[in-house]
């Protein structure tokens, strides 16, 4: 890709290899931010080990003026700060690309490549000379590579200074030392290399309506805006930062103005069984409550989820998926929990789920999740993943509709109850499968007995066939009807396309980029992204309307394809699986490759096209 002939301004990818625990996070964030403030679309992917200190870690930044911000594995620039991974890192650069490394120690000749330009910068040496103390030196080495990149890629140094000034407004000395480190790297590059490179920055105006944030931050903010008051959780990567962010936002926006006390209650539970139990208890009492977890925690919640389903208690669960099975790769992404989410718990169950594609949707879907959970009186999952949850995404600025009022669903007030003859908890009064509920403490007439054991429409214990079926059949109808309440699929129809593609969640960016590439090869494919379960009726229709539909997802077993098969009217012969589950974010090339291979197998690709 990197090629001097072509103008590569605002269209390149860079990767930084460092050591876990050495403080490179803020350097990388700074890089993201300056690109963003220069008005150029950018995304960042943090590849970190399941470790606290000492193992290799990477950060990938993609700059793309067209707004294609999915992961790309083609790195034009590599900043190799970790001697241990030099070999691998240098190998990963595209032909014609650039490697920046710490030349304090000479690079092994063996590692040199002819088709790559090497820029040695004596980061360690310069920092040793300029700064005092081991800690500061390690940290400043990272800031220094930002300076070098600024020179090579033509980044706006004034912007960097401005950013530092904002960040350390209260600690001016830090602005100074950071700028010194920037200059070390910047000046060295300007003096020793020809700057800028063909891959470089140019100011644009494509980010002014956007913000940079992670899905977990966005989800947490959604919980705040939805009016959630109780959060219960047990720490687990990559879900932890939802509650961290919720706590932070609540600390800022949720203090009682008079007393300074908290208008929220966060319980760090002893495990995930307790966490979901706390959510159920709080929801039962009428609070909007949620928990955040990942695979192992989800597995532990199975029993309680069945209770909430059957006893019809709302609950909101954020499942930030990571690579399974079991403990798996806790710091890698995957979409492997679809089955577990949708059919969680023994017996006949089916759960409502929302599938955001990015932090923007995490925010809005978090709000919807509470509305839907209360309307349908059942657990609702927001199924995101490590990529969405923990990586830095550029998304449209979030907006809030001041007219929003929470949909509390069919909750009877004291006045309602006072006026009623008698209240029956599980009766289908309105014929929509959704009964009325009451909250404890509101009115004596509203009292009923909530239980996970067999019960009839009146909430009484039963072992009677008809009374039992009356309730479980109604629940099945209720959940089916939620298909109309979850976010409808995102669709982009290609005119007369014989092929369709259905995808989910974080695959979105890579898929849309791939579709553009395929279109350039005259392969027209209509696009649909499911955003909620139960599936909208249009999903099955979409599949049936195309000769072949590619189902793109990030798990080994084609879970989405299976769900589409059994939970829509789609013909299973029409679907072809395109899967990637290696743990990194999906790239366009995975999709292009999967689709073209499938087309070749089906004898549908014009010869020489691919």
């Amino acid at each position: 890709m990197a090629n001097d002939d072509i103008d590569r301004a605002n269209d390149f990818a860079l990767k930084i290899g460092t050591v876990n625990g050495t403080g490179s996070t803020s350097a990388n964030a700074m890089l993201m931010q300056v690109i963003f403030r220069m008005g150029v679309p950018v995304s960042g992917k943090n590849l970190f080990p399941s470790n606290i200190q000492g193992l290799p870690t990477w950060y990938e930044i993609r700059v793309n003026k067209h707004g294609h911000l999915a992961r790309t594995p083609d790195f034009d620039v590599m900043v190799a700060m970790n001697a241990e991974t030099y070999a691998r890192d240098i190998e990963e650069v595209v032909s014609g690309g650039y490697v920046i490394y710490d030349s304090t120690h000479p690079l092994d000749e063996e590692l040199m490549r002819d088709d790559v330009t090497f820029f040695g910068v004596p980061f360690a040496k310069m920092c040793l000379e300029r700064f005092k103390g081991a800690r500061v030196r390690i940290l400043m080495k990272n800031i220094a590579y930002v300076g070098t990149l600024a020179a090579l890629l033509d980044m706006d140094v004034d912007l960097i200074r401005e950013m530092l000034a904002e960040k350390f407004a209260s600690k001016p000395k830090l602005i100074d030392s950071n700028m010194q480190a920037i200059s070390l790297g910047y000046d060295y590059a300007r003096e020793n290399f020809e700057c800028p490179l063909p891959v470089r920055m140019e100011p644009m105006d494509a980010t002014s309506d956007s913000v940079i944030l992670t899905g977990n931050t966005a989800a947490a903010l959604g919980c705040v805006y939805a009016g959630a008051t109780v959060g219960a959780w047990y720490p687990i990567t990559p879900a932890t930062s939802i509650m961290d962010a919720f706590k932070e936002f609540c600390g800022r926006f949720r203090k009682d103005p008079e007393t300074g006390k908290n208008l929220y209650c966060i319980v760090q539970a002893e495990d995930e069984l307790a966490a979901i139990g706390i959510v159920i208890g709080a929801s039962w009492c009428g609070a909007r409550a949620f928990t955040n977890t990942s695979g192992p925690g989800l597995s532990l919640m199975n029993e309680f989820l069945g209770l909430a389903y059957y006893a019809e208690v709302p609950a909101v669960v954020f499942d930030v998926q990571r690579a399974g099975p079991s403990t798996g790769m806790p710091t890698r992404t995957q979409q492997g929990d679809l089955f577990t989410v949708v059919y969680a718990s023994h017996g006949d169950t089916k759960h409502i789920a929302l599938f955001p594609a990015d932090p923007e949707e995490c925010f809005y879907f978090a709000v919807s999740a509470f509305d839907i959970a209360e309307r349908f009186q059942t657990p609702v999952f927001v199924v995101s993943d490590l990529d969405i949850g923990m990586n830095d995404w550029m998304v449209p600025r979030l907006e809030w509709d001041e007219d929003y009022t929470p949909d509390r669903g069919k909750v009877l007030t004291a006045k309602d109850l006072e006026a009623m003859e008698v209240f029956h908890r599980y009766e289908d009064v309105d014929g929509d499968g959704i009964p009325y509920r009451t909250l404890p403490g509101v009115h004596a007439k509203g009292a009923y007995f909530t239980r996970g054991s067999g019960h009839d429409r009146y909430g009484r214990y039963t072992e009677d066939t008809e009374a039992y079926k009356d309730v479980v059949d109604r629940i099945a109808r209720k959940i089916e009807s939620a298909a109309a309440a979850v976010p409808e699929p995102e669709v982009r129809m290609a005119i007369d396309a014989p092929f369709g593609l259905v995808t989910i969640g974080a695959c979105r960016g890579a898929v849309l980029e791939a579709l553009e590439q395929l279109e350039a090869d005259d392969i027209e494919i209509s696009y649909m992204r499911v955003r909620g379960f139960p599936f909208h009726p249009s999903v099955g229709q979409f599949i049936n309307d195309h000769e072949i539909t590619f189902v793109v997802e990030q798990n080994r077993d084609g879970q989405l394809l299976k769900l589409l098969t059994v939970e829509t009217g789609a013909s299973k012969d029409k679907m072809t699986s395109v899967k990637y589950y290696g743990g990194f974010s999906l790239s366009a090339h995975h999709v292009v490759q999967g689709v073209t291979e499938a087309l070749e197998r089906a004898g549908r690709v014009p010869a020489g096209k691919v």
């Binding site: 709080a282 009428g286 009022t405 403490g441 009292a447 239980r451």
Partner: protein, 351 residues
């Protein structure tokens, strides 16, 4: 149990509490437990305690796990919301409920299986959080509902109906609660309403987690030879071998303990349990003393009862979490949602 006359709660016709309610207003559905089950006696005491405290029934919430004991929430206060959750996990539900609405009176009912086996972790952590609730552990040493397996509170040497001998040392919920920092710890006997009712009332009014371990004989699965505590029992056991599903109709065991003295109570199987009530001058505010008293009683083969420990100034979960005084469920949405202007302002930080 629906057709056999049960030792019913008496209704002195006109007695009314401060709310003008009668005991009947605190009753629940008909019990389906075995005739003579200790759990039903506890239910009667609970009714009495709520009645005497004049708590409006609909301002209480009753929570339980799974087990015969856990069914008891259905047998009192029809006008209170009840939640019969999953086995061993009532503390979590109670914690969440309390987090949402701190103004209700919470009573949790559990069994020794529910609390000390599957639910041990949750119990300890609810104690640690000092969730404001009364937790009644109806302790019979067996899993009643699943037909008599030993629970973690079974005494060493106890013989089950199936003829197995328990060799594992018991977990004593009272010592455990004291060790993990409980702020209100008591023990009583299902048949001693005179002791139990005041304890329950104290527990209900305690701000924090009040645990009451109530020894509550299971007439069905303790109705066998071989209890460590037993003297030979008299009934012919000739039918035992054939009639595995026969459950005799028993009557409730009641006994009032003398304060300052040891009371021997004869169980359904003829065994005797020695209850040692705390003395009049016992100081329940000293955790170490409580533990010593417990161990001393244990050493003598006695079961210490009474209000064993109380930390009056304890901070509950809401104090730890610095939650507002009014229930979170009562906070209007307007006070919870920061609004669009704040959102716009906040997002400047993300640029």
């Amino acid at each position: 149990m629906t057709y056999i006359t049960k030792p019913a709660v008496r209704h002195p016709a006109l007695e009314k509490n401060a709310l003008g309610l009668t005991r009947r207003d605190y009753e629940g559905a008909m019990s389906t437990l075995c005739a003579g089950c200790g759990h039903d006696s506890i239910t009667a005491s609970i009714i009495q305690a709520f009645f005497e405290l004049a708590i409006p029934p609909h301002r209480a919430a009753k929570l339980s796990g799974i087990g015969c004991s856990s069914k008891a929430t259905a047998y009192f206060m029809n006008e209170a919301h009840g939640f019969n959750g999953v086995h061993g996990r009532m503390p979590a539900i109670a914690t969440g409920a309390n987090a949402a609405n701190r103004d209700l009176v919470y009573i949790g009912i559990s069994g020794d299986g529910d609390s000390l086996s599957i639910g041990l972790g949750q119990l300890c952590h609810a104690i640690r959080r000092n969730v404001n609730m009364l937790y009644v552990l109806e302790n019979n040493g067996v899993y009643g509902l699943t037909k008599g397996q030993f629970s973690a509170s079974a005494d060493v040497g106890t013989v089950s109906k199936r003829g197995e001998v328990n060799r594992h040392g018991p977990i004593d919920p009272v010592s455990l609660a004291l060790t993990v920092g409980a702020t209100f710890v008591a023990r009583s006997f299902s048949g001693d309403r005179k002791q139990l009712v005041p304890i329950l009332k104290a527990g209900l009014t305690h701000r924090g987690f009040a645990i009451v371990d109530v020894i509550s004989p299971c007439v069905t699965f303790n109705d066998h030879e071989g209890s460590t505590k037993s003297y030979a029992h008299t009934r012919t056991h000739s039918y035992e071998v054939v009639q595995t599903d026969f459950v005799p109709l028993m009557t409730e065991i009641t006994a009032e303990q003398d304060r300052d003295d040891v009371t021997a109570v004869t169980m359904h199987d003829g065994s005797t349990v020695m209850f040692r009530s705390v003395a009049e001058d016992y100081d329940p505010t000293d955790r170490d003393a409580a533990l010593s008293f417990l161990r001393a009683s244990q050493a003598k083969g006695e079961v210490a009862t009474g209000l064993l420990y109380l930390e009056d100034s304890s901070e509950d979960m809401h104090a730890f979490e610095n939650t507002v005084d009014r229930p979170l469920v009562d906070v209007p949405f307007g006070d919870l949602c920061p609004g669009s202007a704040t959102l716009e302002e906040l997002q400047k930080e993300w640029r």
